[in-house]
């Protein structure tokens, strides 16, 4: 039971990134893979500041700022230099590896000795229940905020930008600026996943972000399948289903592990799993035609 609960909480922690990827992939239709870098960036900033004894709100602010900055960089490279979004993301992600390494100072920082957001807000005796409720609270606040923003006039403009660029420009929306802001929000959310996971796992590691974008993509695809299947139009419910997708993804990986799959194979399993999610609907559609 605890085993699956652990996976559930990890899913919650990664759901902030899921929300970010939902913004770039489904709202802006930009394939942004800055994610791998900004996730580790969030964890690195968190680890270093926790050890220096900063307060949690200040650390959250710093993490958001760092992630947003990474997103702005990708956005600037993409919109100002007209470089393909995929390449822009790879460039920033690659550069971030060195940045992250110099923030961390070494390849791994253990956080067992310092407190965490989970211990600071503890109400239960068993740590896993604290992690569960703090994670749920954190994500509830994040998705609530995001749902609000997406329903405002600004949010409608954001959603329109990825949907019909000719229309948005004709309606006085600076679509380049909108994309930069979108990438900033998305990567700030991703950095917050780094913030949560570092404290959940009690360490930050320079390699923790490798391939994480695929986890996010797979999770969002599950969420999106649910959204289409249930024909959900309400933005808040859509975000809730993205959260569900992130948790489902981790539970599937947990099942694979419990079936005795070698943990070294986990990345391969992840890739095959995402391929399955992407591939099956296409195969089904082809048969239907």
């Amino acid at each position: 039971m605890t085993f699956y609960l652990t996976a559930f909480v990890l899913g919650l922690c990664l759901a902030a990134m899921g929300l970010g990827i939902y913004i770039t992939m489904k709202i802006f239709r930009i394939p942004d893979i800055t994610t791998d870098g900004s996730y580790t960036l969030g964890a690195a900033v968190t680890a270093v500041l926790l050890i220096q004894g900063w307060s949690l709100p200040a650390i959250i602010a710093a993490t958001v700022l760092a992630g947003a900055l990474a997103g702005v960089l990708t956005g600037l490279v993409h919109t100002r230099l007209k470089i393909d979004a995929l390449l822009a993301g790879i460039l920033v992600m690659t550069g971030l590896y060195s940045v992250n390494l110099s923030i961390l100072g070494r390849s791994n920082i253990p956080l067992l000795e310092v407190g965490s957001i989970f211990s600071a807000l503890a109400v239960f005796e068993k740590p896993i229940f604290n992690e569960l409720w703090v994670g749920a609270l954190f994500l509830a606040i994040l998705s609530g905020l995001l749902a609000y923003v997406l329903r405002t006039d600004f949010g409608i403009a954001m959603r329109a930008t990825g949907n019909s660029e000719s229309m948005t420009r004709a309606l006085g929306i600076n679509s380049d600026r909108m994309k930069i802001i979108g990438l900033a929000i998305a990567n700030a959310l991703t950095a917050l996943s780094g913030f949560l996971v570092a404290q959940y796992q009690n360490f930050a590691d320079i390699n923790m972000g490798i391939g994480i974008v695929l986890v996010g993509l797979g999770s969002v695809l599950i969420g999106d399948a649910l959204i289409n299947w249930l024909k959900v139009q309400n933005i808040g419910l859509q975000l809730a289903l993205v959260l569900a997708g992130c948790i489902a993804f981790q539970l599937v990986l947990a099942v694979a592990l419990s079936l005795g799959v070698n943990p070294n194979m986990l990345k391969l399993i992840t890739a095959v799993f995402v391929l399955t999610i992407v591939g099956i609907p296409r195969l089904v559609r082809r048969q239907a035609v």
């Binding site: 006039d153 600004f154 949907n163 019909s164 229309m167 004709a170 309606l171 006085g172 139009q233």
Partner: protein, 249 residues
């Protein structure tokens, strides 16, 4: 109101496929003009419209709106004056957003989009009443995604969206080209009504010769990037369809 001051647009300059789409265009569009733009494919009509909208920057010359030099102003900042209906019914609306969301953005065309929820009961009521005026029965479908509507319905709504906020200039780029005759008639009736009601200065591109006779108070023919005919309301009213066929021989 609008002044094209010796505007030239050359695509692919210096390459083998160099094209001069506009050549020294000198054009003054007065407030209240309902200008019909005719011309064969490649004559430069759409380029002229795009230069006016700001989607294309001219290679030479100046563009003035209300006496202000807007030559360098990007498209999204010209929305202060200009509303636009595209040839492609998909161009003027966001398909995944609801009718209501689309109208909300249109209502803010000249203003910043802020972090407040602007869709309230009063706004819904206003949109519902405006849409009911179209007589298409769409007023009860405000929450439906725009993409589920037909091309004609979307063009009619795009037109209506263009007057949700203050508008001086309306650009119609073959708005009925992708529509069946019945939908086309609805769209053009709507356009005519709104243009008169809001006293819009209009530039209307069409390939439909009878449309070009029926609508507007000024007719311009373009040929190879130049204005070759410019007829005022009186001259235009004397035109017959036969005369127009002659222009294209």
């Amino acid at each position: 109101m609008i002044k094209f001051d010796l505007i030239t647009k050359t695509f692919n300059r210096g390459q083998v496929n160099e094209v001069t789409a506009l050549r020294d265009i000198q054009l003054h569009i007065r407030a209240g003009d309902f200008l019909v733009l005719l011309g064969a494919n490649g004559s430069g009509k759409t380029t002229l419209l795009n230069v006016l909208a700001g989607a294309i920057r001219p290679s030479q010359g100046r563009l003035l709106i209300n006496g202000e030099d807007v030559t360098q102003l990007p498209e999204y900042r010209r929305s202060r004056w200009i509303a636009r209906v595209f040839q492609n019914p998909l161009g003027g609306t966001a398909p995944d957003l609801s009718i209501l969301d689309n109208f909300r953005l249109a209502a803010l065309r000249t203003r910043p989009k802020t972090l407040r929820i602007g869709i309230d009961q009063a706004f819904k009521k206003n949109v519902r009443e405006k849409i009911a005026g179209l007589g298409l029965g769409l007023e009860e479908k405000l929450q439906q995604p725009m993409g589920t509507l037909s091309g004609g319905q979307r063009q009619a709504l795009t037109l209506l969206m263009s007057v949700m906020d203050h508008t001086d200039i309306l650009l119609l780029d073959e708005p009925t080209a992708a529509l069946d005759p019945k939908s086309a008639a609805v769209v053009m009736q709507t356009a005519e009504k709104l243009i008169a009601e809001y006293q819009l200065t209009t530039v209307f591109i069409t390939h439909n010769l009878s449309e070009s006779l029926r609508f507007g108070n000024r007719l311009i023919q373009m040929h190879r990037g130049e204005i070759v005919r410019d007829l005022d309301a009186t001259a235009k009213s004397k035109l017959q369809l036969q005369d127009l066929y002659g222009w294209f021989d």
